[in-house]
Symmetry: C2
DNA sequence: ATCATAAAGTATCGATTCAATACTTAAAAA
DNA sequence: TTTTTAAGTATTGAATCGATACTTTATGAT
């Protein structure tokens, strides 16, 4: 009996999209390898540095990085050890929960990232794609990402200001009902692990 | 204690798109690892099997696979050896150029792919995304992929029937000018290493 | 309060990928 | 023919990565 395994490579097929995502990631991984090779760093190290460069002070933990990359905390711990030995990151204990280790780029790490510029190839390659098309694709991929994480019972990681718990108090002040914390405007545009989307903010589109 | 983890969000930026591509690929890689683990296969083995399932008869070589995944031929050779030992693929010499090894899935390999179904998670996750939105995103990512390949001077690896060398002779007969061979309809829906996109299939949009 | 359980992180070990290098064979070019 | 290039394999060594066990701290139950 012949089973249907894959849809043929038709442009409408989600599998075609998966192929592209996979292939682009493979090539960028090779690029990260190339860029990091001079400094003796592996692709996963470059990804960790880029993660720490972009994440805010509430998400800079080994566990969050492990979830982000789909690796185990033990594996990540090793990569972070190497980055620490090279002086590219700094680790410090969380004040409230003393089990938690917080991470940040060192000045050396920031300098290295700025000089190595691992996303340059991607930025050059997407130079001629309009902001609209980028935004549209981002919304599609994020919808899929949301579902992938839901399937695997991972944290939802949705946008804060589309969450039912996010309430606007005044012009510049937001408040999260769930955690009872005040949020700045920029913070509400980041992704929250506990996000619960309002209706009309998923999959249907922009 | 409940913790909040924020992740950055830059809707219009190409780097945001790269983040999503990278992250989705990381999670799918973890999924491939999970699916292949029962059979003792690594993510790269799953990717190789999926590649062989989708590639046309001009591109089913170790070299093509290496370029597709951004790895060296020596690395790929090892992965293929394992798949051969497991009886999941078959290797045979090319008739014309005897240096070339051709690859195909064995019936066991096909059965395994059908049963393991590594893309199931992705298909479920993208179930509610419309065909139009998928197609739009595919066109955006393909444009970026084409530029990445151009920058790195690698072959583009596109779908046959969007290629300038693919010409329709009659209702069911196609012809590849580059290879000078006749193509069946299904064949034109596979991935080809030498694909050169027609104008209107890149960057400008659909 | 006390004990049990869970969570964050680290250490260690083994398996496997992956790059680098050298080598073989065959094709192409001189 | 001779030389050079290309496809593929074998070997070796480094380093990722998962699994497991362990430490420390936080949380929950009795």
């Amino acid at each position: 009996m012949v089973s249907i395994r894959y849809y043929p490579l038709m442009l409408k097929s989600p599998v075609a999209l998966l192929d592209l995502v996979d292939r682009l990631a493979s090539l960028m991984r090779a690029e990260f390898r190339r860029v990091g090779a001079e400094a003796g760093l592996m692709p996963v190290h470059m990804q960790a540095l880029m993660f720490l460069d972009q994440v805010n002070r509430f998400s800079n933990t080994p566990q969050a990085l492990a979830e982000y990359l789909g690796l185990t905390k033990g594996t990540i711990s090793q990569s972070l050890l190497l980055l620490d030995r090279r002086g590219l990151i700094e680790r410090y204990q969380d004040e409230v929960d003393k089990r938690v280790v917080r991470l940040r780029l060192s000045s050396l790490g920031e300098a290295f990232l700025g000089q190595a510029n691992p996303t340059e190839l991607w930025q050059v390659a997407s130079r001629d794609v309009s902001a609209n098309r980028v935004r549209y694709s981002v919304s599609v991929l994020r919808a899929i990402l949301y579902e992938v994480q839901a399937q695997r019972e991972g944290p939802p990681f949705g946008v804060c200001h589309t969450c039912v718990y996010c309430q606007r108090k005044s012009q510049r002040i937001y408040h999260c009902i769930l955690f009872g914390e005040r949020l700045s405007g920029p913070e509400t545009r980041k992704i929250c692990r506990e996000q619960t989307p309002k209706s009309g903010h998923l999959s249907a589109g922009e």
